[in-house]
Symmetry: C2
Subunit: 454 residues, 2 copies
């Protein structure tokens, strides 16, 4: 009997728990799910004989260490900042660890101890980061193994609403942390490489520098640049690449409308609005517009943003009801971003029957035998309902498969790591394919940005 401890049973753990329970007989698994609140874990486990929920406060050393000690492997689904104590316990008691989070500096600093003990701490093995790493490295390694040289790598991910639940004018609902959506792109210029030149986009231009992406059967999307396009340049071995760009996908038209909020300053999070509690939505909008004794907030809004009378973007703002003088903000000392989040949550909350969707799009440009080629790879995963979401599926299944891979000795290289080696990504992508998380690849004419130079 192999004992798996999962810490944290939040939104992204449904498929993870189901996977372990479904394999509990064939793989001889015993699952323990620890959380400070066991309600969700109990619901997900049901009366399955091989699963149990325990109360676990990650800040309580004794309860945490007792749970870790008993396990054969630990999966932490906690927010990233809570992993570190669990990680240290895993070193103390000689347990392997799996997380879907970015490797923090603290986590990276454990690498030597982890290797000394022969342990595996696998991180960034959800969807983004996770499936993006694995699917990109699989194609990049294949191109290189065939003697090709990578010229271009672009990668885009979006957490969206499924077509059948896509019922508003923004073609968007909150399927994950709303706050991250409201402040997305803030904190400095987006930086990337196009045809060998560094390019910079300041935040207030980000949503006007989008590009379009088409996915068979799912239509057209758009993408804006992430701040961190160069983060994995060296890790992926792309130091000599000519174009490197990472972005976030939305449905077409979202960014142009979102830009209006950015321009007005309604996404700012660095100061609080006076008397926000007693403001109406209309007052909030008006605080970013010049005073006028006669002109309406609507006309001032149109004028400031140069929104023509017949521009379809207008209906998006009406749909959000931002000009309503009766709806009150009711948040004390709130930042513009917090207030905007509240207004959006009124309209962008998933209905109980709504389904989410994860889309991913990679472009690989390369040179082989003197000729330029391009492979585009796309993945779309649609959720089943609001428990078994696409997000939970694409985050939880790679985590689960990696956990079993480590338990079964298929993944064996020790250290604090992310899934970019063949040993890790080959078996995981193979199994994900059987679970219907798979990429469609096609050869397309080389895209690049400078056909004249080829």
């Amino acid at each position: 009997m192999r004992k798996i401890l999962v810490i944290g049973s939040g939104k992204s753990s449904s498929y993870l728990i189901k996977y372990f329970l479904d394999k509990s007989s064939s793989e001889d698994l015993q699952l323990t799910v620890g959380d400070i609140n066991t309600e969700s874990a109990k619901k997900l486990i049901g009366d399955h004989p091989k699963g149990r929920a325990i109360e676990l406060d990650v800040f309580n050393q004794e309860s945490r260490q007792n749970a870790v000690k008993e396990a054969d492997i630990v999966v932490s689904m906690l927010p990233a900042r809570f992993h570190i104590e669990v990680a240290k316990d895993c070193i103390s008691f000689g347990k392997n660890l799996v997380t879907a989070s970015y490797v923090s500096q603290e986590m990276q600093d454990l690498d030597k101890d982890v290797k000394n003990k022969g342990l595996i701490f696998m991180n960034e093995i959800g969807v983004d980061p996770g499936i993006d790493h694995m699917s990109a490295m699989q194609v990049i390694d294949r191109i290189r193994d065939n003697g090709g040289e990578i010229l271009l790598f672009e990668s885009f991910t979006g957490g969206l609403v499924a077509p059948e639940s896509d019922t508003n004018l923004w073609n968007y609902k909150f399927t994950w942390n709303p706050r991250n959506v409201v402040v997305a792109g803030q904190g400095g210029a987006a930086k990337f490489i196009q045809e060998g030149t560094y390019k910079y986009i300041p935040y207030h231009r980000l949503f006007r520098r989008t590009e379009f992406l088409d996915i068979d059967n799912f239509g057209r999307f758009e993408a804006y640049a992430n701040r961190d396009s160069l983060k994995y340049q060296s890790v992926y071995g792309l130091d000599n690449v000519k174009t490197l760009y990472r972005g976030t996908m939305r449905r077409v038209g979202f960014s142009r409308a979102w830009n209006v909020f950015v321009q007005l300053g309604m996404t700012e999070d660095s100061y609080t609005i006076d008397d926000s509690e007693n403001m109406s939505y209309r007052d909030f909008v008006n605080s970013f517009l010049p005073y006028s004794p006669t002109d309406s907030v609507e006309l001032k809004f149109r004028h400031q943003l140069k929104i023509d009378q017949d521009d379809i973007v207008w209906d998006k703002f009406l749909e959000l009801d931002i000009f309503n003088p009766k709806k009150r903000v009711e948040l004390k000392k709130a930042t513009p971003a917090q207030i905007l989040q509240k207004i959006l949550t009124d309209s962008w909350t998933l209905d109980p029957e709504d389904k989410d969707m994860i889309v991913m799009y990679h472009k690989f440009g390369y040179k082989l035998n003197g000729e330029s080629h391009q492979i585009d790879a796309t993945m779309v995963t649609v959720g089943e309902d609001q428990t078994y979401t696409a997000m939970a599926k694409t985050v939880g299944l790679p985590v689960a498969i990696a956990t079993l891979g480590i338990l079964n000795g298929k993944i064996k290289t020790p250290g604090v790591q992310i899934p970019i080696s063949k040993e890790v990504y080959e078996p995981i992508l193979e199994e994900l394919k059987s679970l219907k998380i798979e990429f469609q690849e096609k050869e397309v004419p080389y895209f690049g940005y400078n056909p004249l130079n080829l």
Copy 2:
């Protein structure tokens, strides 16, 4: 013989030193000017029998304390962050102190000690802050003394180039610290009050929300909002005012053109540009524009900013030579703001014969006997040359007059203070008038923003 110690002999000390030397006989003054480099002080003092320059390193406690000990009053013209040690010595040795700088928290914290010793530490007594405080409080106090209630206070200042030296398309040259001009407005939304409502303007909209101001004989100016409009609200006793706005003045058209740099991200100071050292001006501009194998940097620039073919703003950029592929940035690891500053310095540096100009514009709206009134007060000071600048005159003379006022016992209330009491501003403004620094006041129809409400 009364001994005055001036510490620091930078750009703004020419008139200050001249004032003391001119009065040295009639007022029985002996002037010592201390600076780490005595060259400038020697030049300004010449062979005047009552002045001498001494080497003074403000970080050397012995030389600093010896100088302070010998003086009857100390004037610190150092940058604001260097005042504090001088201030502490002034307390130790029982000397009064005058500075033109904003009161830092450290300085404010000395208030109790200063009062206990019966000393006067007068700060913010240059032009802005300084003349703005005094001229505003004089009118505000007068309105109140007559039974009026202040409804509106707007105040604008600009450090500009004099009309006879106004020779470029931007109608602007650097007359003070260029860096402050390049990063002006950054660091959070501008906040002010219009007709009882708080208004917020994000940085990237600041230069598109200007207003026009006309000054007799000097024509039209424009102003953009300062970040700190509310800083002196309570100090001026304006807690119940309906409109409170402070701004920076430029010649018309400057802000619309400057906004282009803001939009592209060329004023950002939070990150460094890769290989900035070897970039041309053209490369720098291009790094904020999308890649294209065929389109020119010029056309991409026009397209991104929607600059029409016949828009006169275009010539402003050509004048700065920003598209030059041969001029090199030559700054290592520079931020966009640092690079832009260098490019602007090529074009905006004063010629030896150029004169600067300080403009100030106050609007006072008030209610008296049920009727609304408005007084507009304007001041323009033009420099004589590049030593005797308008900036040095408007900063140095109030400092000098205050110093003598304290020495002669006309200013006598102790404490760390700024010039907002009648005791201080009345004699100083009176003498400034005789030195041709004076405000033109006129009654105008009440401006307000809501004539319907009156």
